[in-house]
Assembly symmetry: C2
């Protein structure tokens, strides 16, 4: 069931070990499910209980550590490591206030002679709690702890050809899902029925390959609520005169291609039309600036110079690295397209450029996922980006 | 857009304040999106960035604290508090290694005169990281910190009539989705197309009301992989002779009714049939035991005495409190149906009883969500639970 050749996983582990050396980290404990998947192949919806992957300079293979019922079959069939490197904790550790899986992990690291090492942990990820960290520290009193948040994510920022291929498949899926959304949104239709159509398209995928679950559900604010980018849907009916934002992704084997578009039901106000035109002009300027050697803040500056021309201002970043992830985010938490981010673009970096404009009365989102090429950039999907009027 | 009367939210806050008093907590900082929603109404897919709700004994209303683009409209339209209690941080705090939203929150608490209080934080939740905790502690050096994990969850364990009504609606949705799954699973069908059908049914809901996104995607292990309960789906075709596990939920306004069933494509082996019969017998025994006054471990004991009769053993808990939640879990992280859990059942507690049996060669899952009634229990959904054979 591996999504990549074993050699690619081993190369990734080797790159991570090089970073660990640079950062004086001897043992890396990862709880980010995307990082676990990237290095081991592990892929299951089990991240709601503690689980980690451990990479140690002294150990050839990573160790998968998780719940017994996930170790028994799931970790064996989805990872490339030898079985002795799949280690399970019992179910009495699950959601139990008096014992924590990280107590047990500490014991395993002691047994493997790793108790006095420099241990990197991801201090700012979703699935490694403050308590997990306290338990691990208390079980390894002689270890030195370092923050290794995003260490693996920064290795992931440049995609392999195989990863790009998966993201292009995801882009084909999002084209289908966006078309489905556009077709479904009509005055008098329930928002939930549009969301259902989008999910169907996302998950059934294409005739050639199926879709995976995107890490974020369809974001579908409409009418007055378009100023709120992260609302999902209700069972209200769409009304004439409303605008509707659609922010979705296609996903193939955990790789995402996000996209957003905006639809107006009926003739939009001049302000809405004008804002949409400005967003498209700014987005195009950003995409034209994205090339090897440019920085993330250069890309943002191209956008904001367009805004400035129209005397507008956007408070938030206009994009972020994307690709492999699990809920609740398809962003990769490394580079952001914003002032101050001096990350230099390289070929096969991939970003979701989403210069959304949100106001108290309305919002516009038109976005593209792009890949940095040898001498510029290309959008992964091919879907026209006007303000759609129905 | 409130899902309950303002009076119900205020009553919930008042119950939480009573617990805080009992536990000597003067300020409670909650990052669990279900707890935020329970007390404030806030509902958006924005928990991928730091956000919290603060309840202080000295303050009448909770404070919502989150990202500017979510505060501007989303927090205003989905919560009941006055606007001055919606406080935003700027986008430069998002995924920035040199500044963290919790630095800013600490400053706000200082400004409100809460810097020397006893502060409860949820140390073991998904969306409050080790770094978030460190930043908050370092910004409030004179505060005393206490672990308040699950403080609000324990208030949530007994549902109000309105919440039960939402869970019954979710149960109607899961009946529809399970029927859809059963109809769709056939030899030669792609797993992803079955998952797409399930999503469609979950989200479109019924003619009367739409569905919300369940906190876990359909879990659909098949064949050899049925021993791995948390695998999702692939684009492989179902084969004759395989068994397929379907674990899904209906969701209505963030309230869940989970259910699992098992389908055999073709005649099952005697071992599979027998195991399914035992699971149903044990599940029925557990459901008959569930009544006010019984404990969670009593319910498990009824199950395990059936297993014992057949010389079987199950390593893991057979259920957990369920209801309101966000990804990645629809469990509420309070009571578990397992040995040692002495939680006494009360009317309107709700559990997902899932005595799954997973082996290296196959697995069986047949489950029910039940409500404790005045003198027994009732399943929320009505869907026969044999081993289905197609």
């Amino acid at each position: 069931m591996l999504d990549f050749d074993v050699s690619e996983y081993k190369e990734r582990v080797s790159k991570v070990k090089n970073r660990m050396l640079e950062q004086d980290i001897e043992v890396l404990v990862m709880a980010d499910p995307a990082n676990m998947c990237y290095l081991s192949g592990y892929n299951a919806w089990s991240f709601y209980v503690p689980q980690v992957l451990v990479v140690a300079l002294d150990l050839e293979e990573p160790i998968w550590f998780g719940r017994y019922q996930d170790a028994l079959v799931g970790a064996k069939v989805t990872t490339w490591m030898h079985e002795e490197n799949i280690i399970a904790y019992g179910d009495d550790y699950v959601q139990n206030p008096i014992k924590h899986p990280m107590d047990y992990l500490a014991q395993i690291l002691v047994d493997k002679g790793l108790s006095r090492k420099s241990v990197g942990v991801e201090k700012d990820v979703y699935y490694f709690s403050a308590r997990a960290y306290e338990c691990l520290k208390s079980g390894l009193p002689d270890a030195t702890f370092k923050d290794a948040t995003n260490l693996v994510n920064w290795v992931r920022i440049v995609k392999s050809p195989g990863e790009i291929d998966y993201m292009k498949r995801a882009a084909s899926i999002v084209e289908k899902a966006m078309q489905q959304a556009y077709d479904a949104i009509n005055v008098g239709t329930r928002e939930c029925d549009v969301a259902a159509d989008i999910f169907y398209a996302q998950v059934s995928g294409t005739e050639e390959y199926g879709g995976d679950y995107p890490s974020i559900v369809p974001l579908l604010p409409s009418g007055d609520k378009t100023g709120a980018p992260h609302l999902t849907w209700t069972d209200n009916l769409y009304n004439d005169g409303e605008i509707v934002i659609i922010e979705i992704a296609g996903c193939y084997r955990r790789y995402h291609s996000p996209m957003s578009r905006t639809v107006s039901l009926g003739e939009p106000t001049p302000q809405v039309s004008k804002t949409a035109e400005i967003v498209v002009e700014g987005l195009n300027a950003a995409l034209e600036t994205a090339k090897p050697g440019a920085t993330c803040e250069d890309v943002e500056a191209a956008w904001s110079s367009v805004l400035k021309k129209y005397e507008l201002f956007k408070e938030s970043r206009i994009g972020y690295a994307t690709g492999l992830n699990y809920p609740p985010d398809w962003g990769e938490h490394t580079a952001s397209l914003r002032p101050g981010d001096k990350t230099v673009l390289q070929p096969n970096m991939t970003f979701h450029c989403i210069p959304g404009m949100w106001f108290e009365g309305f919002g516009i989102e038109i976005s593209e996922t792009f890949r940095v090429t040898e001498n510029g950039s290309e959008t992964l999907a091919n879907f026209p980006k006007p303000l759609y009027i129905k």
